[in-house]
Symmetry: none
Subunit: 163 residues, 2 copies
């Protein structure tokens, strides 16, 4: 089961930022006289101190459960070139859609550059680095989606969840 981070506020707000950036589920323990907390997403919760250990444990478990659910989300690419991921979506350009197809198909694992080239340009790459350029453009499109296109040096690319 996914780990949940616990931070004390307002002391550890730096760490909170970091956890948010990395998409890790987190529980804030808010000091007695600090202002109420406002979660920024569904992977965040808070309790007012002092809190019973059982209460904290309960919230941590709830967060872990939520995180596991959200991990099961998979992107989907329709033949109208709509890429959906949760409630987020974009319309992909034709080239981007062809490239994205095998990546979505094998979501979370590595797709070789050769295979990507084949998918994007069935009759040969037009130029030496057109694949890289196109991958760059694809990456830009995924901004704010919760999806990331990771590169595995000399192996290929992998589409995965994360920012």
């Amino acid at each position: 089961m996914t780990d949940v981070a616990v931070v004390r506020l307002p002391d550890e707000s730096r760490q909170l930022e970091e956890l948010r950036r990395r998409g890790i589920p987190r529980l804030a323990l808010v000091a007695p006289h600090a202002p109420p907390f406002t979660p920024v997403d569904l992977l965040e919760d808070w309790v007012r101190l002092p809190a019973a250990p059982a209460d904290v444990r309960s919230r941590v478990l709830a967060l872990a459960g939520r995180a596991d659910e959200s991990l099961e989300r998979r992107p989907e690419l329709t033949d109208d070139r709509l890429l959906r991921y949760g409630r987020w979506w974009v319309a992909l350009a034709p080239a981007d859609a062809r490239l994205m197809a095998p990546l979505v198909d094998r979501f979370g694992s590595v797709v070789g550059r050769g295979e990507l080239a084949k998918a994007g340009w069935p009759d040969g790459l037009p130029s030496r680095n057109s694949l890289d350029v196109q991958l760059g453009r694809l990456r830009r499109r995924l901004k704010g989606s919760g999806l990331t296109l990771h590169t595995v040096r000399s192996r290929g690319c992998a589409l995965a969840q994360g920012n």
Copy 2:
């Protein structure tokens, strides 16, 4: 904004059941010595008593926000050419209504230009780009509705929520 119900546990667990059944967002105020609470869905939260009013208010607001987000509204097009979306509405011109029909029908996914043309002008397009012009007028009518007519280049259009 959506209303949030507040119940006291364990006293009012009957009411809690009812609220869950009806899908209303709810905050449980849990008595000091009652066991920790486990939310059953995302429209549920809890706080241990005694709790500061500000804390309760903060959680109620968070729940209301979540409820609004998760609210999935669909537009509706009546026979007398009224397009409704939530509490917003417009009267559409005949041509706009014919165009809008398939878009509303397949809300959130792409409708091909061919299909749109067929819907708007059953016996052939009067001119090369009259479809584009009409789509433009339609867009203008949707201003401020919370609906947007997105174009998927060389595929068609998709009606979706957003501004």
